[in-house]
């Protein structure tokens, strides 16, 4: 059977599964809609968190990024996993004990102020919208390559599916579809990795094949370093970014991960504080399976690519090369007209451009794996994109219906009315996300990575100080969040969109890239918060009691309004 038939079959089966789960788990109350009724088991929550967290970027782009950047790609590996240690130790148990529905809920109550709540809603919407647009684009990309439908049709199919189960099932529907999606995506990621690891090193465990030897007994990493040297690329196992920048980017990704609202709300869905800790452990374990495999895939793919194309005759290249050329993601330009592919670091002589996003998608084809494996990767990529999109849409809809309407505009709204508002805002959010998926503004690609900087600069300090400092008051938190997010936005706009006079790499402050600047903005938030709080009145007694209460795990009870 052809790849396309296989893809239709696998995508059809998985989508039917997601819709079936959605019908089976539809939400009947706001509590079920926002936090799945608060009764999810830690294991199920760990699986759902892992799927929620691992987006199209993790599944499709990350291994490719590492493949092209070598050691520099480590920032994503450490950054996107290390954040879970912070989540588990500093945030999840306490926020679960606090027991509300959303992150702005915590900020608004802990800082006894609707101004603080509004700032938090603004940050949550900003972070979530930039993130979700990239997911819809990923859905469209997979559809267009594997099913040969128009990329926009692909985005619309994805929208309809997400709409169906997010609107119908709310958090409850999302949680159980995410459990299924994790299984699909991890299976789809591991099967080709295992195949390729056996092919290249004889070891079925990719994490070990990563350090394995080829048929001549040469370590693969040493071999690739050698190939890179020959072609003029910088050594695979050492980086080209400055140590300071690598440090700051890793930190920004870690603190950003711990501050992302769609990840934090997952910990509201379990019963007890103990379960919140446990689900963080499960989540990271399930994430680590993919994250320790990705760098192995990166190495295999890079070596395979160079060996397959470098200095080969264009006419004799395998079929996958032409398939991907058609999508425009591989470009070959025979500059010296010798009919061979020169793939070298020197831009004036290099004849091959490979988009990093196709490394995972094309990898099974490059390795000559059977058609069903290639189709499986497509289904896995869709699972990764859809699960993250759904989680983000829920944050957006809860921010509007719960934080804005229920808590600020119309506190007398009935349970039923709030549920309708939640569903309506989810519909609007899906349409906006779809619009950005079809007409991606240039800034989307640039801002997805920066969403982490924004989350680190705004939420992380406010939440951590809210738990660990009884003295932190509303003045400190509001000013801190405002300074942090504005500073981050300013730096991002200046160096990514050329506003405020723009600037190039040479103008970066102390050589810090916009991706790494989140750490600096976060420090600014911490410093401003602490200094301002010392010169303004202490928080009221009730709030200090709330803080004392969330530090003790027993009596978490049920999440309430």
């Amino acid at each position: 059977m052809s790849i396309q038939v296989w893809t239709w079959i696998l995508v059809g089966i998985t989508f039917t599964l997601y819709i079936g789960i959605a019908i089976w788990t539809r939400a009947g109350s706001t509590k079920e809609f926002y936090v799945a009724g608060g009764g999810v088991s830690p294991l199920a929550n760990g699986l759902a968190t892992a799927a929620d967290w691992m987006s199209a970027a993790s599944f499709i782009s990350m291994a490719g990024l590492i493949s092209f950047n070598g050691y520099d790609g480590s920032v994503y590996l450490m950054g996107w996993t290390g954040g879970y240690v912070l989540l588990a130790l500093l945030l999840a148990p306490y926020l679960r004990k606090f027991g509300k529905f959303t992150v702005p809920d915590f900020i608004g109550d802990r800082y006894y102020s609707n101004v603080a709540r509004s700032v938090a809603v603004f940050c949550a919407l900003l972070v979530s919208f930039t993130y979700v647009a990239g997911q819809m684009r990923g859905v469209g990309l997979v559809f267009s390559r594997f099913l040969e439908v128009d990329i926009n049709t692909g985005v619309i199919i994805g929208m309809v599916i997400v709409l169906f189960y997010a609107v119908l099932g709310g958090m409850k529907g999302i949680t159980y579809t995410q459990v299924a999606q994790y299984c699909v995506l991890i299976f789809a990621f591991m099967v080709p990795a295992i195949f390729i690891s056996i092919q290249m090193t004889g070891n079925p465990i990719p994490q070990l094949g990563f350090g394995g030897v080829d048929e001549n007994g040469v370590y693969l990493l040493d071999k690739l370093d050698g190939l890179h040297k020959e072609l003029g690329f910088s050594e695979y196992t050492s980086g080209s970014k400055t140590t300071l920048d690598v440090f700051l980017i890793t930190a920004a990704l870690m603190f950003g991960t711990a501050g992302l609202p769609h990840v934090i709300v997952r910990f509201f869905t379990v019963k007890r504080v103990v379960d919140a800790r446990k689900s963080a452990g499960w989540a990271l374990l399930f994430i680590a399976i993919l994250y320790t495999t990705a760098p192995a895939i990166a190495l295999f793919a890079r070596t395979n690519l160079i060996e397959t194309v470098s200095n080969q005759e264009y006419e004799k290249l395998p079929e996958w090369f032409n398939n991907w050329e058609k999508t425009g993601l591989i470009k070959f330009d025979d500059k010296n007209n010798d009919g061979r592919v020169q793939y070298v670091a020197d831009a004036s002589k290099n004849e091959l451009i490979v988009d990093k996003d196709i490394m995972v998608l094309a990898n099974p084809e490059i390795a000559g794996l059977p058609n069903w494996v290639i189709a499986l990767v497509a289904a896995g990529a869709l699972a990764a994109a859809l699960s993250t999109a759904a989680g983000l849409l829920l944050v957006i809809s809860a921010s509007v219906s719960h934080d804005l309407i229920k808590k600020m505009i119309n506190p007398n709204i009935s349970e039923k009315g709030e549920l309708i508002a939640a569903r309506l805002s989810a519909v609007v959010a899906v349409c906006v996300a779809g619009y950005f998926g079809i007409n991606p503004p240039d800034f989307v690609a640039a801002t997805v990575a920066l969403a982490f900087g924004l989350a680190a600069a705004s939420f992380f300090p406010a939440i951590v100080l809210g738990i660990f400092s009884k003295r932190m008051n509303k003045e400190g938190a509001i000013l801190g969040m405002t300074v942090g997010i504005l500073l981050m936005l300013f730096y991002m706009m200046k160096f990514k969109f050329d506003w405020f006079g723009g600037g190039t790499k040479e103008d970066w402050w102390f050589g810090i890239s916009p991706e790494g600047f989140g750490t600096v903005a976060m420090m600014a938030n911490f410093i401003v918060s602490i200094i301002v709080s010392r010169f303004t009145p202490a928080p009221p007694k009730e709030v200090i009691e709330i803080v004392a209460n969330i530090r003790i795990p027993s009596g978490a009870g049920e999440a309430t309004h």
């Binding site: 890793t250 930190a251 452990g281 994250y291 795990p553 009596g555």
Partner: protein, 85 residues
């Protein structure tokens, strides 16, 4: 539960956090980034050690850290009677 008990519990919790987060910092930022060139002179099979920490080792340690934390806190909760049935 007395106020004193709560303070003791919190202090112990902070101690655990300090220890676990130091290890978190050490394996990622120190081994994987700051000392990566020095550690790369040492080999672990097919890997240079610093590179291995950055792309594999740190992640394994992160997972272990969370499970150790769960274990420590469950014990601490029981000790102070803050555990839930």
């Amino acid at each position: 539960m007395s106020n004193n008990q709560e303070k003791k519990y919190w202090k112990k919790n902070l101690k655990y956090l300090a220890i676990l987060l130091s290890i978190w910092f050490l394996v990622s930022f120190v081994f994987g980034i700051l000392l990566v060139d020095e550690l790369n002179t040492i080999r672990l099979g097919g890997f240079k050690l610093g590179f291995w920490f950055a792309q594999q080792g740190a992640i394994y340690v992160f997972v272990i850290l969370i499970f150790v934390y769960i274990k420590l806190m469950n014990k601490l909760d029981k000790e102070f009677g803050f555990n839930e049935k």
